[in-house]
């Protein structure tokens, strides 16, 4: 992927995270930088869980495949 192709992808993701942060403020009615960043971290944490799990599964699968290739 070229650098300029990353721009729309990152933009979508950043906007998506922002949209996920907003409901917290709509319901509580309080908005400040500290709570905004805390909410961003929370959302990123939940986004990171599937990415982390997928990465672990991929590494395990790759390791198994490599060890199978060495034995065969």
């Amino acid at each position: 992927m070229k650098k300029r192709e990353w721009v729309p992808a990152v933009l979508f993701i950043v906007l998506g995270i922002h949209c996920f942060v907003m409901p917290g403020f709509v319901l509580t009615g309080s908005l400040n930088v500290h709570s905004y960043l805390a909410q961003v971290l929370h959302v990123c944490f939940w986004i990171g869980i599937p990415i982390f799990l997928t990465g672990i599964i991929y590494l395990v699968w790759k390791k198994r495949k490599r060890s199978k290739g060495e034995t065969s």
């Binding site: 992927m1 992808a9 979508f12 993701i13 907003m22 409901p23 709509v26 319901l27 986004i47």
Partner: protein, 453 residues
């Protein structure tokens, strides 16, 4: 933007909308129902609290209770007597419990507001109030539901944007090799066969990329072979044709001094036309062999008989050059399934080459059995072939000595035909040679299986 990328992108957006819109509707319904029941419970509890307070109040405090509930909250209160008539209320004067029942919804016509209301029976008190009705306005729910809806819309939009962002990356990475392949295929279509598609992955796309690279290599080889073939054929035909043209013109113009010279020219024209015919026949046969359209008359044959016949045929020519040809075959050689005429053609081509390039010494033909194969070895003590030429000697028109080979009269197709015919017989042909010491060809032909016999 390529179409597959847009399709992937559009599909994910479509899937998310399909899932998120009904999910949003259901979540909103769940919250709405929950809030309504919560408000009803709260109203009933409040009515009970007010009813429990009644026996403890005097006239003045009763008025305060009604006013406090009405002014400090959005709720209203009504107190009914034993006859079912409303004794006092905080703004819902037209409410008639007899007509509407103990709990439910009520719309006040004066204010236009809609309420949930609940009744609680009052303990005995000094005001003769038997029932307390508390009214909670429905618009209390509306505000929180709107906030919830807005939060759901934010979250839904966020999930769609996140999905699009990650789909963008995935789609780009997935379609990137496809775009490279499409570009390579376009270049191949315009004749550029030097293209290479990156094939780093081990999945189906990697396999496809490797196949495309192989295809490009094969096409390039085919194109080079075709060019070389056309160039060789035209070159091989041009030389005898120029002889025929030159000598026929000499005859036509009478450029000869004697009848003997005239006959010499006629012989030369005949020889060259014979050479062209043989060349054209060889090319035709070879092309049929390469396209697997070459018919073979299969039968069970004794290879040693065919080899011996080929040796006998070459012996007179060898004798003229003073070369000795020996033949030796194992006594118990098995039969083989083969076309005898074509097998003899293989042997003849090899033997003719051996006689042509052997100036003194001998040619040995030995046949033996090795496992399930018949090995036919043709060794000579001729000029031999340089190592650099060995990998190419079975290619069409390949000549080790281009300046002298025409003098020997070959078409340059003998060994190519021998290899093709051997392979058509499911056999193999190989060569070993040393410059100045001689050459040895080994032809391996599979022996017939018992059921074939």
């Amino acid at each position: 933007m390529n179409t597959i990328f847009l399709k992937l992108f559009g599909s994910v957006l479509f899937l998310f909308l399909i899932v998120l819109l009904p999910l949003g509707f259901v979540v909103q319904q769940i919250f709405s129902t929950y809030n309504e029941s919560h408000l009803q419970e709260e109203t009933a509890e409040l009515a009970q609290q007010q009813a429990d307070l009644l026996p403890l109040l005097d006239e003045r405090r009763l008025g305060l209770l009604v006013d406090a509930l009405s002014e400090n909250t959005a709720r209203e209160i009504a107190l009914a007597g034993a006859n079912g008539e409303i004794e006092t209320s905080s703004g819902v004067e037209e409410f008639s419990p007899a007509a509407l029942g103990a709990e439910g919804t009520y719309q006040d016509e004066a204010s236009g507001r809609e309420y949930y209301y609940a009744e609680a029976e009052a303990a005995s008190n000094s005001f003769d109030v038997t029932s307390v009705y508390v009214f909670s306005p429905k618009h209390l729910l509306g505000g929180s539901m709107n906030e919830l809806l807005l939060a759901l819309i934010w979250a839904g939009t966020g999930s769609i944007l996140l999905a699009l962002g990650f789909t963008f990356i995935a789609a780009r990475r997935l379609t990137s090799p496809l775009r490279s392949m499409e570009k390579a295929a376009r270049q191949m279509a315009t004749g550029n066969l030097n293209v290479q598609v990156p094939a780093s992955s081990k999945d189906e796309l990697g396999s496809l990329a490797r196949s495309m690279n192989e295809l490009a290599r094969d096409l390039k080889q085919f194109r080079n072979t075709r060019r070389e073939f056309l160039s060789n054929v035209s070159h091989e035909l041009r030389t005898p044709l120029s002889y025929v043209q030159g000598y026929s013109r000499a005859l036509k113009e009478g450029w000869y001094r004697s009848e003997e010279e005239k006959q010499q020219y006629v012989h030369l024209i005949h020889d060259e036309s014979h050479r062209m015919t043989r060349l054209i026949n060889d090319v035709f046969e070879l092309s049929k062999m390469e396209e697997d359209r070459f018919p073979l008359a299969w039968e069970l044959v004794q290879i040693e008989e065919i080899a011996e016949a080929a040796v006998q045929k070459i012996k007179p020519r060898a004798r003229q050059k003073g070369i000795d040809v020996s033949f030796d075959a194992d006594p118990d050689l098995p039969a083989a399934a083969a076309d005898p005429m074509r097998v003899e053609q293989i042997f003849s081509n090899i033997l003719q080459n051996a006689v042509t390039y052997t100036h003194e010494g001998h040619i040995d033909v030995t046949l033996s059995r090795q496992n399930k194969q018949i090995w036919c070895r043709f060794s000579d003590t001729g000029t031999g072939i340089d190592e650099e030429h060995l990998p190419y000697i079975f290619e069409r028109f390949y000549r080790t000595d281009k300046s002298r080979s025409r003098a020997h009269g070959g078409s340059g197709l003998g060994l190519a035909i021998a290899r093709e015919l051997t392979e058509l017989h499911h056999g193999s042909i190989s060569v070993q040679s040393r410059t100045g010491q001689g050459t040895s060809f080994l032809i391996q032909i599979p022996a017939a299986e018992e059921e074939e016999e």
